[in-house]
């Protein structure tokens, strides 16, 4: 394969960079508008049509804010932490194709920065680096709230990272490759029923659900935004940050939403694939970009709705969900997927057997839902004051 001229990677890099930066700006605006609607407010509506330029103006405003470096911080690490977050966020998008083949000035190329042979691993690795940004910010601040927030959210992130990684393993089993273009290729064609897309979200539904829950927690978004539980931790790991450095954390957090949406679309929903409606070749290249943006926007919208609709989860609930539900489910599902792939190579199962297996699986899931929720609810109920042992001891002492 001959390598393209140098301007091609330069062009794709800038286009992808701009695409994700623009999506992040639009996400911030959309979130403020949608959450405002959910709370019967108007939201930003003054700058530009429907307030769409609000993010830009806020960004400019941030330049003129004082950037305080408190005296007790570990200065090099304190400065490095927000940069690590933003740069890792941008690098994670490198392997995600935002569109199909494009022909420009006689060169045909895909709109992706680099189609690495370890693409999916690259995404997971850069996701892990994001944890450093959070933890280093908390640690370098040398202040109680950031330290607590940083430790909390790094524990949360590493927990859900395992669940996400194991969920992606079943995608690898199906696709047989780590290269993102191979994974998208494997999702082309028909699904179980002709005419249905062959997206991995359908045969790998449990892995898909684990991944979706995991990505919300990994991005530190409501209802899993424990890192910045304002009521108890002030601002979490970024309490001591202000000005543009705080802006960098915000950018990294919102970018994670966009990146996670792009990743889930790529791994489970066929990436930029979609019908082109027989358009002529001259315009057909727009369609993959359109489909990719549409699918990504749906997930971004899902993130926003979650924020508007759900209260914050308690910390032990969050860790229980991650360790006791998502990780076992993802592990078992990886094994089940592997067994099914091997059975399929042997000639597959009879339709009746499939129905029986599906029925058993359904009974197990419903059973777990019924059995699993009751003891936990009991422990969550507030202890009545007269049954609280500490309180009664105190009463004895005073009386």
């Amino acid at each position: 394969m001959e390598s393209p001229p140098l301007w091609v990677p330069l062009f794709t890099t800038i286009v992808v960079f701009a695409f994700f930066l623009l999506s992040t700006a639009l996400l911030i605006w959309a979130e403020r508008r949608v959450v405002a609607r959910m709370q019967t407010r108007l939201g930003p509506n003054r700058v530009g049509p429907l307030g769409i330029l609000q993010t830009l103006v806020d960004g400019v405003k941030m330049f003129f804010k004082e950037d305080i470096t408190p005296g007790m911080v570990n200065k090099p690490v304190y400065t490095l932490a927000p940069l690590v977050g933003v740069i890792a966020g941008f690098l994670a998008i490198a392997v995600i194709p935002i569109g199909g083949e494009v022909t420009l000035f006689g060169e045909t190329f895909t709109l992706v920065v680099a189609d690495l042979h370890v693409g999916a691993l690259w995404i997971l690795a850069l996701g892990s680096i994001h944890v450093y940004s959070v933890f280093l910010a908390g640690w370098a601040s040398n202040s109680p709230y950031p330290l607590l927030g940083g430790i909390r959210s790094s524990a949360q992130m590493v927990s859900y990272e395992i669940a996400m990684g194991l969920a992606v393993a079943s995608v690898f089993i199906y696709a047989g490759s780590l290269r993102i273009s191979d994974i998208i290729e494997a999702q082309a064609g028909d699904g179980l029923i002709p005419g249905m897309p062959g997206w991995f979200a359908i045969p790998l539904l449990p892995a898909f659900l684990v991944f979706v829950v995991g990505m919300v927690a990994e991005a530190g978004r409501p209802p899993f935004d424990l890192a910045e539980a304002e009521g108890e931790l002030v601002g979490g790991f970024n309490t001591e940050y202000s000005g543009m450095r705080f802006g960098m954390f915000m950018l990294a957090e919102f970018m994670q939403v966009v990146t996670m949406s792009a990743i889930v679309v790529t791994l489970f929903l066929g990436g930029p694939s979609g019908p082109t409606f027989g358009l002529p070749d001259a315009i057909a290249w727009v369609m993959p970009i359109f489909w990719f943006s549409l699918k990504m926007s749906l997930f971004i919208f899902f993130f926003i709705l979650l924020r508007g609709a759900l209260p914050r989860a308690r910390y032990h609930r969050l860790m229980d969900l991650g360790w006791k539900v998502l990780i076992p489910v993802a592990l078992v599902w990886t094994m089940v997927t592997a067994a099914f792939v091997l059975l399929n190579e042997l000639g597959g199962l009879a339709t009746e057997t499939r129905w029986v297996l599906a029925g058993i699986a359904g009974v197990i899931v419903i059973g777990l839902l019924v059995l699993g929720s009751s003891p936990d609810d009991a422990s969550d109920a507030p202890v009545p004051p007269d049954e609280d042992p500490a309180a009664s001891d105190h009463d004895k002492v005073t009386s």
């Binding site: 990677p9 794709t12 890099t13 992808v16 960079f17 930066l21 330049f63 003129f64 804010k65 004082e66 950037d67 305080i68 408190p70 007790m72 927000p82 940069l83 740069i87 941008f90 490198a94 920065v113 680099a114 189609d115 690495l116 042979h117 040398n142 202040s143 109680p144 709230y145 607590l148 430790i151 909390r152 524990a155 590493v158 927990s159 395992i162 990684g165 194991l166 393993a169 690898f172 089993i173 047989g176 490759s177 780590l178 002030v234 309490t239 000005g243 543009m244 960098m248 910390y315 032990h316 860790m319 229980d320 360790w323 006791k324 592990l331 990886t334 094994m335 792939v341 091997l342 190579e345």
Partner: protein, 119 residues
């Protein structure tokens, strides 16, 4: 093969320039008016009490970190297996099932001993 990573280097330079440039511009045009209150640790307006560098935090977080290491190694073990799994066939599946079963026993023990209980 390393040429594949060249565009990523470009992206890295672009991202670093963007983030570093923003911080630089902000430090040039932003005001700078430090005072002792601004420069002290934020504790909701109280006098800062805690000496954080020697502060202790719950041992649970260490447990999570160690469990994470174990399970992350497991994930790292599963990824290459998942990619070449079709060639390995039933033998590979059996091996992986055995590995996960051994880990699963430890995991169930951990949960049973209350290692993942948060109060």
């Amino acid at each position: 093969m390393l040429a594949e990573f060249l565009p990523i280097l470009l992206l890295f330079v672009l991202a670093t320039a963007f983030a570093g440039g923003s911080l630089l511009v902000s430090s040039l045009v932003g005001p700078r008016m430090p005072n002792p209150t601004k420069l002290s640790a934020y504790e909701c307006g109280n006098e800062p009490l805690a000496e954080v560098q020697s502060a202790r935090f719950p041992v649970k977080f260490y447990m999570v970190a160690m469990l994470f290491l174990i399970f992350d190694i497991e994930a790292v073990f599963i990824f290459p297996w998942a990619v070449v799994f079709r060639e390995l066939g039933w033998f590979g599946l059996g091996q992986m099932a055995l590995f996960i079963a051994i880990l699963g026993v430890a995991f169930i023990y951990e949960i049973g001993r209350g290692g993942l209980e948060w109060d």
